[in-house]
Structures are given as C-alpha cells and as structure tokens.
Symmetry: C2
Subunit: 64 residues, 2 copies
Amino acid sequence: MKNVLKVLRARNDWSQEVLSNKLGVSRQTINAIERGKYDPSLPLAFKIARLFGTSIEDIFEFSE
Amino acid sequence: MKNVLKVLRARNDWSQEVLSNKLGVSRQTINAIERGKYDPSLPLAFKIARLFGTSIEDIFEFSE
DNA sequence: AAATAATGTAAAGTTTGCTTGACATTATAA
DNA sequence: TTATAATGTCAAGCAAACTTTACATTATTT
C-alpha cells in the first residue's frame, strides 16, 4: 500500500517527530509508515486523515 | 469505532461465512468486527469498502 | 568545519488483528 | 418438532502494528 504521508507532512513543514506527537504515536512509527515498512492500523489511518483534513482514500492507495 | 458492516451484509443477504470467503478472512473475524470486538486492519477495511462499493468512512465511524 | 536537527535502522518487548478448532446458542426450514 | 443453518464465543497460537532504547547516517545551521 502506497501513501503520500511524506508529501502532506512536508507541505506542513513538520518533522517526523512533530507529526508523531500530533498523532500520539512514536517517531519510528511515522518513519516506518512513510517508508512503507508497514501499514497503519485503521484508527491511526483515521487520525492521520483527520489531521490533514482529507480522506483515508486520498492518503493511502490500496494495492492487492 | 462503530461500523455498519452487518447492515451492508444483510442488504446483500450474505451470511458471515459467505462474506468472510469473499474477503479472504475467517468467519470469526467478520463476527468480531461486526460485534465491535476489534477493528479491521487498514488493508481489510479497504477490501470491505471495495466489496460494498463504498468508502471506508461510510462504513466505519471513528471515535477518539 | 563543527554543531545540531532530522532521518534511518535495529533489537526486544507488548498489544492487537487474525487463524484454526471446537462447542454452545439462536434462528430458519423440513 | 427435529434437523440444519447461522451466529456467538473461547482458547491457543501466529503475525502485524507499535513501543522504547539506542546508535548511525544525512541534512541543515552556525
């Protein structure tokens, strides 16, 4: 699954640490998601979408 | 997190087992999600939304 | 160039999603 | 009413998401 988290984060000029704090997760979790090491949980995906004022589908692209 | 999975499934007249087969998960997983025992992973949420031809946000309601 | 900030990565541990197998309960059909 | 289908639930186990700690590498300032 691809995602544009890094783009959205850059657009807001936030470091991974700042973003992780806003979301209540660790910096490593943000790093892992951005680098595609794993997908976020559904609750975290909702938090991310809410923070950036968009939909889950606009941030994450599901691929079989 | 609330969801309307049971409603969508009923609308299609599918049993939990039939739905689980269509999604490639176990019947117990469907049962647990419908009963709110836990949330699906993000990939599974995408599969569910795709199967019912709607968005994740229209099926799952995030609450804190 | 040196200091600092940001990012990448790894190991070990906890929690959550999901599995199989088994059995109990409830609804539907014969 | 008896059989069968559907749903609920539990236990044990595996895998994925996430944590903390720690350190290495890459950018960015000063």
